[in-house]
């Protein structure tokens, strides 16, 4: 294997429906002539959650630490899965309607296994480690902050 550095990270926070959340843009970023595999995850707002009718979702986030966390997740993928990867991760903030894209993760690598694993590792980290909070708004006019993962005791 050559020693050319073909790894790269793009970590973004974007307004709802911004072009940064376009899956085609994510795939374009992880494209490289040395890479034969690409994996893509797109997270959208769904209509029902725990039996309740959702009309909208609102994301609050701590933007500087979100970007730092996304970059750390990508670097961990380089270290744990393959040193040669391209990783794209973008998350939105503010109010989204049902069907809107909340998050896009893409990974490109030489082979499919590394792309799948890197994409999965990064989206799991986004859900469990990034300082992002979700409030669901329901059809009856009520709203609730969703249960989450505590970061107490988590490595910095």
């Amino acid at each position: 294997m050559d020693t050319v550095d073909i790894s790269a990270i793009r970590a973004l926070v974007a307004a709802p429906r911004d072009a940064a959340l376009d899956p085609a843009r994510a795939l374009e970023f992880v494209t490289h002539e040395e890479f034969g595999g690409q994996a893509l995850f797109v997270g959208r707002v769904r209509r029902h959650n725990h039996g309740r009718d959702v009309v909208a979702v609102e994301y609050d986030l701590f933007e500087p630490l979100v970007r730092t966390t996304f970059e750390a997740l990508a670097r961990e993928a380089f270290a744990d899965i393959a040193p040669e990867l391209r990783v794209y991760v973008a998350h939105t903030h503010g109010r989204l309607e049902v069907g809107d894209i909340a998050v896009v993760v893409a990974a490109g690598s030489r082979h499919r296994d590394e792309a799948f694993r890197a994409c999965r590792a990064v989206i799991e980290g986004v859900k469990h480690r990034a300082p992002i909070w979700k409030r669901e708004h329901y059809v009856d006019g009520s709203s609730e902050w969703s249960e989450g993962c505590s970061l107490c005791g988590h490595k910095a």
């Binding site: 997270g43 986004v126 970061l151």
Partner: protein
């Protein structure tokens, strides 16, 4: 020292402003900020539960902070309740 505490997620429901000022001793660590936040919650935020306070972390703009860590020199910290992005 005065701490400028940025509130997120469910903490935003407890008061209209997203920024809270707390007093802690000079040289205090993150545990002191946690105690100051709990004291403020007990006297101002009836809807804030002990469970939420226990499961809330603190952070600077660049890293999560443990209870034994020094507070950032600029006094700016963020409360990080349990997260659920994606």
């Amino acid at each position: 020292m005065k701490l400028q505490v940025q509130l997120f997620g469910p903490f935003r429901d407890f008061q209209p402003q997203a920024l809270l000022e707390l007093d802690v001793a000079d040289g205090a660590n993150v545990a002191a900020a946690r105690e100051a936040l709990a004291a403020h919650a007990a006297s101002h935020w009836p809807a804030c539960t002990p469970g939420l306070l226990r499961s809330t972390a603190f952070a600077s703009e660049s890293a999560l902070l443990r209870d034994g860590d020094a507070l950032p020199a600029d006094g700016r910290i963020a409360v990080i309740p349990p997260v659920n992005g994606g």
